[in-house]
Symmetry: C2
Subunit: 387 residues, 2 copies
């Protein structure tokens, strides 16, 4: 078999520390299962690279990364000193730009963020049923609100006008919605295999009151953002016909936020636009334990030549960087997802991903709330893997 | 003194029922304090009117409403039968259009949604500190993502492109941000008068580590929606100089959603764009007890000839309409806010608003979770007002 190659980009702040534990687990799994797996570390994208070279990564960065099968990213962003607003601005818009560059450059058109409230994770909701949260938010990751078209007219004057264009194509809409339905089926099959059951009721009538084993909820704001809202709705109705076994549901983004808090356990697969998905994934992440556990997978499922990118949802946490205090749990869940993804056609690799997931979950369940150092957590998980 | 005139638009579903209780309370207060207050009921906007006339309200609706000092709206929207998607679409986009028409037509450029978790209200968060939630989300209500510019090219084909333009002016940006700072000061003064204290720390350094008695948090997504994000940020920095006593803070909308769940009690005044405000106000509403208690005030603070519009945040709940089961609490809180607004220059009217607020809050605290009919709740509150 060919060797699978990973580009490791530790990034800023706590990134290198949590990535260190990911590498340790990868080494353990590689040795244990003789995985044909290699990785290379890159000093960019990073704030340090930016300081030295005036840009977050070299001009040929994407060309270099394209040679790899996946990118494992730690965290980006350095807020700089609190009293220097310019450096603060730099964080948001410049240091984080490589994220968007990779998503676009490699056409990672799916952003997948599973949200399960695992035992041991922090529970923010009062309702006990929060333990049943198990949803997959699928965010359109290639266009929409993120096309960066627009500008500022009469900048800085009282008469200034700022515009920002949202551009949605039917092609990207169809593929993300179809992907959502496919994932719903896969999740239902996984549940059957693991003898878990869930049932869903169709809510907008298209499944005619029948109970289904999976459900896709489409998010729009079509009562205010009419044009793409209608296009999304039509695409959804059309594609849903190919999946008569999947219950369908439509929520406006504002109502969805409310329902995420009121009854998140009622959701299965959720499909949303780039910005609305950005918002809903953060909300889903916090409801299922917070940034400390949330992985984010930027996938190109259609072009095998394009690497997908895996990152924890958390930021670079510069306030605790370099002190060995960062929790690598989210990074390790992210690494597990990467292995499962890379193992789509390689059962051993996929099993290693599942094994890592189970080890991290078991560690989380046993050590809920314990204060442990970054490397203690990584080591405990590696021991579990070696046991 | 001149008579204050209110246009009452009960709307659809449970709207007429909850509005009935609002009128009952208004009658009680008018009699008790000899308020110079009159109201007129309108059969539109409504779904019924639409069925009969082919439009939700008459052509001269805004001209008619302009003669009033305020509009008290019940609820809009009728989803129709679940098996008729066209009627379902109508709900969102057509039945609700009058809301947007009024906001635009009367330049109600502020949407104010206070979120306090009052005793007796449903608490979704596990953390006890949720009892301290007391924020005011101020939503820009006149432009931005809601300008309805855009369209669909090659509609219905595989090559379709849907665009939606976001348009932000410096003028509207400045006025909403300044309004936010003014409200922060007013809220701080209220707290002093009521001997409640809160302190806030400036988080982005512009207040240099000092503790302040009020705080404004600006929301943007400037790391992805750069153009207006930067304009908002610059306007915020500039206007904050006029309010050196107010702590300032900036959150990205996705992080804000997370922090609303993690520590909503840390927020004071929050200023957001039209769409981001729509999302955050729904989230704030659910965190402070849900739709059953949340008022929404669409205000024009600058033009005295333009009526402001007051509505509960909840929908028309057609599933329970006409059965006397609707909870009028949100409607009555909304009515209280309306009286306070109308009483800006009329202390007796303002006091009546405060009295209604207190009566509704006391009723909520005493009857937490009790199942009561719509008119029982209204009657209990009127008795409290008459006592
Ligand atoms: C850093 C930022 C541009 C990014 C986004 O908005 O997509 C982040 O919030 C995320 O969710 O990955
Ligand atoms: C009905 C809809 C257009 C409206 C909005 O998005 O403003 C509603 O959600 C609200 O918040 O008042």
């Amino acid at each position: 078999a060919q060797t699978t190659r990973i580009a490791v980009t530790p990034g800023d702040g706590i990134g290198p520390e949590v990535v260190g534990e990911a590498i340790r687990c990868l080494e353990t799994l590689r040795a244990k299962h003789s995985l044909a797996l290699e990785w290379t570390r890159f000093p960019w994208p990073s704030h340090a690279w930016h300081q030295e070279h005036g840009e977050s990564m070299p001009d040929d960065a994407l060309a270099q990364l394209k040679a790899y099968d996946a990118i494992l990213l730690g965290a980006l962003g350095d807020p700089g000193p609190a009293d220097d607003p310019d450096r603060y601005l730099l964080t948001d818009s410049v240091s984080l730009a490589p994220l968007l560059d990779m998503r676009k450059g490699f056409d990672q058109w799916v952003c997948e963020r599973p949200a399960r409230l695992l035992p041991g994770a922090r529970q923010y909701l009062a309702d006990e049923r929060a333990k049943d949260i198990d949803m997959l938010v699928i965010r359109e990751n290639s266009e929409g609100e993120y096309v960066s078209q627009g500008g500022r007219l009469r900048k800085g004057t009282e008469d200034e006008i700022a515009t920002q264009m949202e551009v949605f194509t039917r092609k990207a809409t169809n593929r993300i919605i179809r992907y959502g339905f496919e994932q719903a089926r896969i999740r239902a099959a996984d549940r059957v295999r693991e003898s878990r059951t869930r049932t869903f009721h169709a809510l907008d009538g298209t499944r005619d009151g029948r109970t289904c084993e999976s459900q896709v909820c489409l998010i729009t704001k079509r009562n205010a953002l009419r044009y793409w809202g209608d296009m999304y709705t039509e695409a959804f109705e059309e594609i849903s016909k190919e999946f008569p076994d999947v219950a369908t549901h439509h929520e406006l983004v504002d109502a969805a936020c409310m329902k995420f808090v009121q009854s998140p356990w009622a959701f299965d697969v959720v499909v949303a636009s780039n910005l609305q998905g950005d918002i809903l994934t953060d909300l889903a992440a916090v409801l299922s334990g917070g940034m400390g556990v949330a992985p984010s997978c930027n996938l190109n499922p259609t072009d095998p030549d394009m690497p997908s990118m895996f990152e924890p949802t958390h930021g670079s946490a510069p306030d605790i960087a370099g002190q060995g205090l960062a929790d690598p749990t989210a990074m390790l869940f992210t690494t597990a997802r990467m292995l499962e993804w890379l193992g789509r056609k390689d059962p051993v690799m996929a099993a290693a991903g599942k094994e890592l997931f189970d080890a991290v979950a078991a560690d989380l369940a046993e050590n809920a709330g314990a204060r442990r150092r970054t490397n203690e957590i990584g080591e405990a998980i590696c021991q579990r893997l070696s046991a």
